[in-house]
Symmetry: C2
Subunit: 333 residues, 2 copies
Amino acid sequence: MNNGPLDVVGIGNAIVDVLSHAGDEFLVRESLVKGSMALIDSARAETLYDSMGPAIEVSGGSAANTIAGLASFGGKGGFVGRVRDDQLGAVFSHDLRAMGVEFDVAPASEGPPTGRCLILVTPDAQRTLNTFLGAGADLGPNDVDESLIARAQITYLEGYLWDPPAAKEAFRKASKVAHAAGRKIAFSLSDSFCVDRWRQEFVHLAEHEIDVLFANEDEIKSLYQVDSFDEALQHVRGHCEIAALTRSEKGSVIVAGDEVHIIDTEPTDAVIDTTGAGDLYAAGFLYGLCRDHDLQTCGRLGSIAASEVISHMGARPESSLAQLSQERLGETA
Amino acid sequence: MNNGPLDVVGIGNAIVDVLSHAGDEFLVRESLVKGSMALIDSARAETLYDSMGPAIEVSGGSAANTIAGLASFGGKGGFVGRVRDDQLGAVFSHDLRAMGVEFDVAPASEGPPTGRCLILVTPDAQRTLNTFLGAGADLGPNDVDESLIARAQITYLEGYLWDPPAAKEAFRKASKVAHAAGRKIAFSLSDSFCVDRWRQEFVHLAEHEIDVLFANEDEIKSLYQVDSFDEALQHVRGHCEIAALTRSEKGSVIVAGDEVHIIDTEPTDAVIDTTGAGDLYAAGFLYGLCRDHDLQTCGRLGSIAASEVISHMGARPESSLAQLSQERLGETA
């Protein structure tokens, strides 16, 4: 049954988000760096959870959020990542499959539990992430089904994959299969601390493997170790076929060869929780690419998806992005 | 450490809510009665979950929601209910304890998993509940700690307790202990179908055991099998010391001997999800009683709490009810 063409396959850490409101003083007390993602072990996950306030659980994971967003636009997506056969694993799998996403990696029957990300949302709507990779840490090349990759126009991978030991091998396999099949590889730099950990490898990837690069302002500046956005822009222009650079309330900038587009943000009633903003921007952008839209429209689709996800708690869309984009763009999308 | 005075102890089913948006046609297809609570077994829970869209998980359970609301007002609460030692049980326990609620019933190490309620939220913000009691079905009198009940001004129980086989024995024990200690028993009729299942016992309780009764319009009409709210009102007046009757957008009516108060709803920006509206009304009302407020103020505190919880997905408050009630009522509360 699952053998038709796909728009995008995502490869990433399978994570359930545990979201709680917290004041700035909580971050100080727990030595957390606002806006960043920290990797934590099982013991730290337990003590931090104990000190957190009441929470809600929503499926997350950067690339998985992007694929969920793609599905909400009406795109056909697939996902590769590892959960365990526990309750959070069932939640994660349900939420992807309920959106029509192909997700066929069998859950592990032993080893660490399904990964989770403890997220503190401060009153300024910023999110601070603390990820226990759990079962996701065992992701490796054997989880990558070659026929799945070959069926997708684009394979999208998160930079966070460089943290689990074998996952970069999964990336390399996917990249080889995709390019051999005439397909494209998209990649997100994920987080400026992640860029810090893997800068040389990421620069190499940007020059040689990545067709579509996603990064926010901090990440792209960190990648090239420059102080200004414009310097980073000049560096990245020569590297990837397309780079989509997000700048929070300043919108986004898209660079592709000689083309440069500067896209404004979309209006929102209120910014509640910025978790998933970058993931959903990528969802809209990739959906647009797969539907052969021009780059300006791809950027607007990204902005529309990001504006929806920051208007509520959690990193998955709560409204139909297909409907929202039709309202905003008319028949264009 | 846990031996100081308490405002309210809740006894109820320990449930994690699984909330998903659904259209009216989904309810028709799945033969669900909008606005009601249906008990489902493990197999039905699985097939219904499979057909549901992506969801968020938030701690729930009617009496537990009320105790969480009480804690948000700044009240001291305790809870009695049964979870298993699984991931959803950990979520449920965390969310109560993180609000400062005493919850000391040890999780079961075998038997069915932690209970869950599959909730479909339709575009009219109505919620339709499908409860798999799971570990909660084993709640019994041995779970009721006599000293806990004696420490609380009010013990609050949900009508849903009549569904698990041994839980009504837990109610009877708690009622006996509370009244022997000069404390009060509050009770919610929970759901009109629940009233249908247990009408004679509930009428008996209202006449002989319950000091403070909570019911919505459908439930109180069902209890007395009458067609109009006013007829139900006349019946209940002679039965309980205090009855607080909620009427959705028409507000609430409070009856206590000769006193009758008609309380309007509080303004809300938007009604997103009515899950927990009754539970949170009870939270505000009981908090007011414990702080010796007059019945009008108790009703307004109930309305304030209900207005907060219907403004977002999930049945637990997302904002501080202490702060919200101070803004709305000034120094009164």
